[in-house]
């Protein structure tokens, strides 16, 4: 299914993938936050072994 004009097609192929950058930032940021939550919210409160 190709519903874009030739001009639009050329523009798409030459433009930066902004949606991908946004997704990568969201996923990367989410991973950092999740890791910090796991470290400070779950791991450290368990204290020392024994």
């Amino acid at each position: 299914m190709n519903s874009v004009s030739e001009e639009e097609r050329k523009k798409i192929l030459e433009s930066s993938p902004v949606g991908t950058w946004a997704l990568m930032l969201i996923v990367g940021g989410g991973m950092v936050i999740a890791w910090l939550l796991m470290y400070y919210g779950v791991f450290l409160p368990r204290g020392h072994i024994g």
């Binding site: 299914m1 190709n2 519903s3 874009v4 097609r9 798409i12 192929l13 993938p17 902004v18 949606g19 991908t20 946004a22 997704l23 990568m24 996923v27 990367g28 989410g30 991973m31 999740a34 890791w35 796991m38 470290y39 779950v42 791991f43 368990r46 072994i49």
Partner: protein, 539 residues
């Protein structure tokens, strides 16, 4: 070029792979039911460990190895436009591997090789199991030789030209597997087989685990590279677009191959035989491997974004909805990437030197590798199968809608099964145990999660059945189909690639240096200090 024989070769390998998968899926459901303790008549420690060992070997070694070989043969012939080099040699490799599977299956199914798929000594199996596993690996080396020879044939005939990306990745995987399998090959040949045959009385588990760690992490990338090959080389075309960057793809494959090898000690964080410094060195390397994973994520998602926008998608994320979600391969990558995000986070926790202590040997670990392996890797094997089956059999796919249902059910089943598994790990449930029913408050609190896992396992088993049914019905279908593998074109075709992005020579030298640094002294130390062997343990 007539490639009827190549199709038969690939299809035969792939059928062995999916037959192993189907059997292992049945065992998977049995295991999750048995260990829950809800069905007393099913409880049997001996049967459970025989099943879990067979499940692991079938999924981790048989499904993967045969799939990778079958996929590789057809990628080689279709991307290079060359016949498979020395088909008798290729069939001989298939025969050796299959013989190995049969030999290993005998003690496995009889309960005489209940040592799990990692076969860590001092657990001891029947010699046939180790000999069979060795033959499986030796047979796969035939495939490695075939891939490297075909790659060299093509390079000789096309001097200076970029090797087609799919073949570049496949050859890289063959080289990776030769490096990867060396560790376990040494362990099996010089420790496990002599020990199991009674030629030596005891075994050094520390040395054995160190050698297995050599293999245990890069083997994951051996499994994953066909998935990534499909991500880069097949999906963009199926989605209606182009590969965002051929050069970035090559760089990612090289980084994956080079950095997946010298990092295996993150499997030994809690082991006493290696010092902290070596473990930290491997831990740093482990985080380096996230780099090519992110490069892959970026390049592949950018390729999908291009396809979505060419299909009319607008806005920051509107292109996602414009992707052809009803194409099995496109759906497989979308669901696979989602599971990679969740599984990848779990992997970061595992790789974190301190936090690993919290999840070490808990159900978290089983949840993690099922999500990464059963999720991201295997769902793409399904996507590849749905694309390859019509090409290899010359029959149209029996039911594309059933394929879509199967992929969704696999995703849903995997999420339902692995989420409670992770939670159970954080609640302290150990992995590798045949029963979780100790009738105290702690284990009683696990029950709702066990029920959920059984439900997830049931969905996965049904999904497995749908896959095999669809492939079988395709094979016996009456209609004919004419088609060939279509590889994605990059936006900008590589015309003048530097040699380091088109050859593995320099990378093999770098790998050798890295492996010497990462494993040289840690292995040598066992021959410089007094160690004490262990007798056999077992179920």
């Amino acid at each position: 070029m007539s490639n009827t024989e190549e199709k038969k070769l690939a299809l035969t390998h792939l059928w062995v792979a999916f037959a192993a998968f189907a059997l292992a899926a049945v065992m998977g459901l049995y295991q999750v039911v048995e260990r829950s303790g809800f069905f007393g008549f099913l409880e049997s420690r001996e049967v459970y460990y025989a099943s879990v060992s067979t499940h692991g070997v079938l999924m981790g070694f048989v499904l993967t190895t045969f799939f990778i070989m079958g996929f590789g043969y057809y990628v080689a012939t279709s991307s290079l436009k060359l016949p498979v080099w020395n088909k008798s040699f290729a069939w001989a490799g298939f025969g050796v591997s299959l013989l190995g599977v049969v030999l290993a299956a005998l003690p496995l199914l009889g309960g005489a090789a209940s040592v799990l798929f990692t076969f860590y000594p001092p657990m001891k199996a029947h010699p046939l199991f180790y000999i069979g596993a060795t033959l499986l690996v030796v047979g796969s080396w035939f495939w490695c030789v075939s891939m490297i020879v075909m790659y060299m044939q093509w390079k000789k005939a096309n001097p200076g030209a970029p090797v087609p990306l799919a073949m570049f990745a496949t050859t890289g995987n063959a080289m990776l597997w030769l490096w990867t399998s060396a560790g376990v090959a040494v362990e099996v040949l010089f420790q496990l087989i002599p020990w199991s045959l009674g030629w030596i009385d005891s075994i050094d588990p520390g040395l054995a685990r160190t050698l297995f760690a050599w293999t245990l992490h890069p083997i994951v990338y051996f499994w994953l590279i066909p998935t990534y090959t499909a991500f880069y080389c097949l999906v963009p075309k199926q989605a209606g677009g182009y590969l965002f960057s051929d050069e970035m793809a090559r760089a990612a494959f090289i980084l994956l191959i080079v950095f997946s090898l010298p990092i295996g000690f993150h499997h030994l964080y809690m082991d006493p035989e290696q010092a902290h410094g070596w473990k930290i060195l491997h831990a740093i390397g482990t985080f380096v491997v996230t780099l090519p994973t992110f490069v892959t994520g970026f390049t592949v998602i950018a390729s999908l974004e291009i396809a979505g926008r060419l299909n009319g998608g607008k806005g920051l994320f509107g292109w996602i909805a414009a992707l052809p979600w009803t194409n099995p391969m496109v759906l497989a990558i979308i669901l696979g990437l989602l599971m990679l995000i969740f599984g990848g986070f779990g992997g970061l926790v595992n790789a974190s030197y301190a936090m690993n202590a919290m999840v070490h040997n808990t159900a978290w670990v089983s949840g993690h590798f099922h999500l990464i392996f059963g999720g991201t890797t295997i769902i793409m094997y399904f996507g590849i199968a749905y694309y390859f089956w019509p090409i290899l059999t010359g029959k149209p796919l029996h039911s594309p809608s059933l394929a879509i249902t199967q992929l969704w059910s696999w995703f849903i089943g995997m999420i339902i099964m692995t989420t409670p598994w992770h939670i159970l790990g954080l609640l302290g449930q150990p992995r590798r145990i045949d029963s979780v029913n100790y009738n105290n408050l702690l284990t009683l609190s696990w029950e709702p999660y066990e029920v959920t896992m059984i439900f997830g396992g049931l969905i996965l088993l049904v999904s497995s059945g749908l896959l095999v049914y669809n492939l079988y019905k395709t094979q016996i279908g009456g209609e004919s189909y004419q088609g060939e593998v279509e590889y994605a074109e990059p936006i900008h075709a590589p015309s003048d690639l530097p040699e380091y992005l088109n050859s593995f020579k320099v990378w093999n030298i770098i790998i050798a240096v890295f492996m010497l640094i990462a494993f040289g002294y840690p292995i040598l130390q066992f021959f410089r200090m007094e160690t004490f062997g262990s007798g056999a343990w077992g179920v």
